[in-house]
């Protein structure tokens, strides 16, 4: 937009300029009528700038329009260079301002969240322990003859792990089908869980593998989860 208006202004001025230039051209090359020559000479007597320019072009034996338009281009490039570097600087300032504003907002939001979250955090923790203890019960049933596993510490240990470490899941009820193998170090491998939207639930798989050690070799059992209403 700016460059368009700039272009048109330049064009107008260039035309005035070219008018003078074409007069000089015609004068130097003897293409002018005597009256026009006189008028230009008269003007030049009052305008040493014009006189010198005429003298110069006469010495050069004429006007080289191509070379002059190259010179105009050089100027345009020079001006553009400057304004683009100015824009760059301008954008940098803008970016800096936006960055700073974003930074301030981020810190504010973080502070507000911390203020809100920290006092509530301990309360909800306490509640969860109380509620989950009371709300769920589990029933484990072997599903095949090959199932020969039981947790080190007994099934109570398994329930306890589910209650304390896996208490945050929503809609925590239904029947799960759990299969796995137990290796020499009593850890569960190849764990497959299905049923009640718990299909291979990563958190549960981790609990079975890492929080409980198992006696036996092969597991295939169901866990029925009851939600007890208080």
């Amino acid at each position: 937009m700016v460059s368009v208006t700039l272009g048109s202004v330049w064009k107008v001025r260039k035309m005035e300029n070219n008018y003078q230039l074409s007069r000089i051209h015609n004068y130097v090359n003897g293409l002018m009528s005597k009256e026009d020559m006189y008028t230009l000479e008269r003007e030049a007597l009052e305008d040493p700038f014009l006189q010198d320019a005429i003298d110069g072009y006469r010495m050069q034996n004429g006007v080289d329009a191509k070379q002059l338009s190259l010179l105009q281009q050089r100027l345009a490039t020079r001006v553009e260079q400057h304004s683009s570097s100015q824009h760059k600087r301008f954008y940098n300032w803008q970016r800096l301002a936006i960055g700073m504003a974003a930074g301030v907002m981020f810190i504010t939001v973080c502070t507000l969240l911390l203020i809100r979250y920290i006092p509530n955090h301990n309360k909800t923790d306490l509640k969860e322990v109380l509620i989950t203890d009371a709300l769920y019960e589990y029933d484990v049933m072997p599903l095949t003859d090959q199932n020969d596993v039981f947790p080190v510490g007994g099934w109570e240990k398994f329930y306890e792990v589910l209650n304390t470490k896996y208490a945050n899941h929503q809609n925590y009820k239904g029947t799960l089908d759990i299969r796995f193998d137990v290796d020499a170090s009593k850890k569960a491998n190849n764990i497959i869980i299905s049923g009640a939207d718990f299909d291979n639930d990563k958190e549960l798989v981790d609990l079975i593998r890492n929080s409980i050690t198992w006696n036996g070799q092969k597991a295939h059992f169901s866990v029925k989860i009851y939600q007890i209403s208080l």
């Binding site: 001025r13 005597k34 020559m37 320019a53 100027l75 345009a76």
Partner: protein
Amino acid sequence: MSEKELLLQYKVSGNLESLGKVYAPYMSLLYGVCYKYLQDVDRSNDAVMQIFEELIVKLRIHEVDNFKSWLYVYAKNYCLMQLRKDKKQQYVDLDHFMYESEQKLNDINDSRWQEQHFHKLELCMQTLNKEQEVCVRLFYLNQQCYKDISEETGLDLNKVKSAIQNGKRNLRICMESKKNGE
């Protein structure tokens, strides 16, 4: 926007587009002036650009009343400085410069002349040397162009030009002294 407004805008904002708009129309005249003194295409091109570079600095500091005359004097001084740097290449006829610088200063006073002064003009015409007198008459009274005068008098074209320029200056000096002597 006028030239003056653009220059003011540049002085305040430092926006090169404004200065470029003012400068561009003068470039071809400037090139001619530079060529007159430097007599080399590349040097003249560079001089026009270099003068622009110098204006970038100068015009943020100074306010200029008559940009065209100021620019002309500035450009000429620039070229003369260039020539001074390489003294071996002196092409320039110094009388010429004297005349033109003076002329610039005198232009403003032109309106002071009134009808009653013009009878003195004829007296002053007779104080000029023959060459100057003939050339000035043919130019100002007969309105003949340099070429015709050159043909008519047999004088070289450049000689005609400087005879008219010098004749005009001498006339002015003569008229001034007569007026002050009243």
